[in-house]
Symmetry: C2
Subunit: 545 residues, 2 copies
């Protein structure tokens, strides 16, 4: 029996220790509800077809082990569940060595031995280690079912200290004190201003990124705006009329809804830093996310203010309601030609994945410019104007531009490079993770790929040998509209691990429909601001024999 476990699910080894006698004793000792009966999880779980499928597959592999672990823990739970733990105590239990603890409401659970049985994979559960489950369960609705709670109940070891349930008081002297509470899964690159990305495991878990883990790129404190008094000022064209639009006014424009991927110019900057120091936040591969946005089309709003396309080049300048201590607001601009093109689908968005925009993402209104760098998607939008020149904002003129690797802070001439608008083709591997140890046999490589300007990703090549040989991955996710491929493709490749390999250098590279490709290496695209980091993405893994 132990041999069988080893063959089907090596992660179960630890769980199986001392099992044969203990589990039989526990079945006798356990009391109360129906869920107490030894059952195969894949049979007991109900729910919608797609969420059940995952459980069923895992269940087939893990069923027997789960049943046994489940009984072990019912026994323990019965013994310990009255103890009280502080939040600090819980937060120190985040590894197999210390035990892995989580909380739900006021209850504390030791899930050390369940981690490997977690149908969504151990790494997902580990994201919650030492803290509350709620933020994660909020993302994954499948957990909100009675049998999941019943399963968890078996791992209960006690109660949370009642004092630890009070949220921390606001520090009012801090300009960031009023920033919203964030999801704990976000990997924080900077607290003030808040900049954070979802971990790779969660990034491509869903085609649409759930709002709470959508990457956040703030330049300033988050304004706290009253939707009732909010007004968007749109400067009228000569002969036209300036507009002061309430949210209700905006709702009256035809509502336009599109799926758009946003990417920060600094996504994957940390790889550039490895070549040579750059100025900027150390984004890993997660400064990119995808949402369903809804709002008024900018072209409709501009038209109402009397604007139309001009013969000469012009720019639509956006100003946010976030500002620094001197009162300077965040600002950026896009060419008028893009703004006025109905096919470019530029939005004044007030909904993100069917919800009002979260505060971190621009509540109540932000710009969404499909196919264009995140920096132009101005949040907390306060003012729109049409100007003969680009926005004078620092972030338009003195930042978010690319330069030759030879240019440093002594020689840089920001006027010599165009502001980044459309981004180049990009891709990255989200599974397996760098440094992970994988089983021999087969490996599943997963990731995302996207290109700017509405160019569809048409192929992702994956290599297990550092780029010597390649195989095309399977593209998943929503289909792409021609010339309006605003959203990423997720991709995966299930491939045999070459026999005898002790490690793999996994690489991905994408091709878009103008057949642009990613550069092989980072150094030749290195630039002093660490933007536009789109070289092949590498992940090194070890293989267990």
């Amino acid at each position: 029996m132990l041999l069988l476990h080893r063959a089907v699910a090596p992660g179960l080894r630890q769980v199986c220790r001392q099992r044969s006698t203990l589990s039989r004793l526990c079945i006798q000792a356990s009391s109360t509800s129906d869920s107490c009966q030894p059952q195969h999880p894949s049979l007991t779980f109900s729910g919608d077809a797609s969420s059940t499928r995952g459980w069923r597959v895992m269940g087939t592999l893990l069923g027997l082990g789960t049943v046994l672990a489940y009984h072990d823990h019912r026994c323990r739970a019965a013994q310990d569940s009255t103890r009280v733990y502080t939040k600090e105590e819980v937060s120190s239990h985040t590894s197999p060595e210390t035990g892995i603890w989580v909380t739900l409401g006021s209850e504390v659970f030791d899930v050390t031995e369940f981690v490997d049985l977690h149908p969504g994979g151990p790494s997902k559960l580990m994201l919650a280690a030492g803290g509350p489950l709620e933020p994660f369960w909020a993302l994954y609705g499948v957990h909100n079912q009675s049998h999941v709670r019943e399963l968890l109940a078996q791992y209960k070891i006690g109660e949370l200290n009642p004092e630890d349930k009070v949220p921390p008081a606001l520090e009012t002297s801090d300009p960031y004190a009023d920033d919203p509470v964030r999801h704990p899964a976000l990997q924080v690159n900077s607290q003030r201003p808040f900049n954070a990305e979802p971990p790779p495991e969660l990034l491509t878990e869903n085609y649409i990124t759930p709002n709470p883990i959508f990457f956040t790129r703030n330049h300033l404190p988050v304004p706290n705006l009253d939707p009732d008094t909010y007004r968007l000022h749109v400067v009228g064209a000569p002969g036209g009329q300036s507009l002061s639009l309430s949210l209700d006014d905006l709702y009256k424009f035809p509502k336009h809804e599109i799926t758009v991927t946003l990417q920060c110019a600094g996504n994957r900057r940390s790889e550039m830093t490895q070549v040579k120091e750059v100025k900027g936040l150390e984004w890993k591969i997660g400064a990119i996310s995808t949402a369903r946005w809804a709002g008024a089309r900018l072209c409709d709003v501009l038209a109402q203010a009397g604007h139309q396309l001009r013969e000469t080049e012009a720019h639509v300048c956006f100003e946010g309601l976030d500002s620094d201590p001197t009162g300077t607001a965040y600002g950026a601009s896009i060419p008028l030609a893009r703004a006025m093109d109905p096919e470019a689908e530029v939005l004044l968005a007030y909904e993100m994945n069917g919800q009002p925009l979260p505060r971190d993402h621009g509540f109540p209104v932000r710009v969404v410019v499909p196919g264009v760098v995140g920096a132009r998607h101005v949040k907390w939008l306060g003012r729109v104007s049409v100007e003969p020149e680009e926005s004078c904002s620092h972030w338009q003129r003195r930042d978010y531009k690319g330069f030759s690797p030879s240019v440093d802070w002594d020689t840089v001439d920001f006027d010599s490079a165009p502001s980044i608008q459309e981004l180049p083709v990009q891709s990255a591997i989200t599974e397996p993770r760098d440094g992970e140890t994988i089983e021999s046999g087969e490996v599943t490589v997963k990731g995302y790929a996207w290109s700017g300007g509405g160019r569809a990703v048409i192929r992702v090549d994956v290599s297990l040998d550092g780029g010597l040989t390649w195989q095309a991955a399977e593209l998943c996710g929503e289909g792409q509209r021609p010339r309006k491929a605003w959203a990423w493709r997720l991709w995966q490749l299930q491939v045999p691990v070459p026999p005898g390999q002790k490690e793999l250098n996994i690489v991905c590279k994408a091709v878009d429909d103008s057949y642009n490709v990613q550069p092989d290496t980072v150094a030749p695209i290195w630039n002093l601001r660490g933007v536009l980091s789109n070289a092949w993405h590498h992940v090194h893994v070890r293989v267990t024999p």
Copy 2:
């Protein structure tokens, strides 16, 4: 004096041999015209300012040597100019060892010792070695001046055999027998069908490529069409009317004129072949050229036939009047959305650089699709229709597509890849040439850069050390309209040769305004058809100490 020559123009060494005594003798022996007087070329040549400038610079360096060489040859010319040579004899004189001969009209010249003095550079004159000068002089108007002819006269060694002036008879059984006569500077990759490219020295000599050396990519014999009876058939929309347009009918549409670079999908294929064999013509870096095109806008013609944009994706199919022995014509298609967009400026062109289209380039009418691969610019256009699917032509469906390097002729599925439309960012070095030996001191690197889809080239980086360090080159040529950068940028970088270097690995790479870049190496973009070869371009040169 000999020392002085060595210092200013080492190429003169050979010319200077035996000079000191001979030249003095010749001045005495020479007779007749004013041009016989010893004169500094930079002073005697008149003409427009820009052409004079080149002569003046060269003159400053070479003036003295030229004067001397010129007198040597006046002496020789006086002795030999009555001999008669066959065309074959002339064609065997193409190197310093055999002597370098050229013809002009019925006269034969030995220009061996003038080659190094040629103000346009020796390599340009060498293109005409062993044959007539006329095709080259037709490209470079500066030669059509009396003092140039007088200078040449000094090198005359005889007359061409009168029989050799007759053009070769047509071989009527050959389907290609009626193909036009081509410019001898073209480097031929295939005679039947005719495929040829200009040599690098000429490619970037002019921003606009002269018609006779514009790269030629034919798939079939060149049809010989009568402009009076030519008709373009445009299939009408349902409810619209089909059109049968004569050239005069086409002239009645508003005439639209734009500068557009055309590039073959196979440009630089020869570099892919070095990685692994591919199917296709061995294009070097010259399957790209730029012309000023004029014609009717396709959108205007389609509108007259009742076509308009559709909700569903549709394609405009083009059929050429060239055909294979089975009667199958060349064909291709582009999306209707591009065809109908006035901003995309798709032309039915009847003029190329102010002339009617040359036969090799589609006389009397071809399609010009700015920013799109050459294969869609259908020549000798016979038929236009709007279809729900792409053209069924072999060249649309079973060719001109990109694949992963792992795909071979046994595994290729042409339906799995989209047809190439917009091309990726591209650049190449035209000067110095690969294998050349350059002087130490300074080197001037020149080349071209272009990107598809109207994306402007914003930067070209040049490296002298194989890609370790980079410098941005100076961009030249016409300015680029935003979103309509249909034409290439020429570029150059004058840069010190690092002291002590015996050889240089010169590399270039371009960046376009969506910040796409070229891939570092060829192997990872290798594909079985050898298309889309846009890795960094390398040129290896030796440096004289």
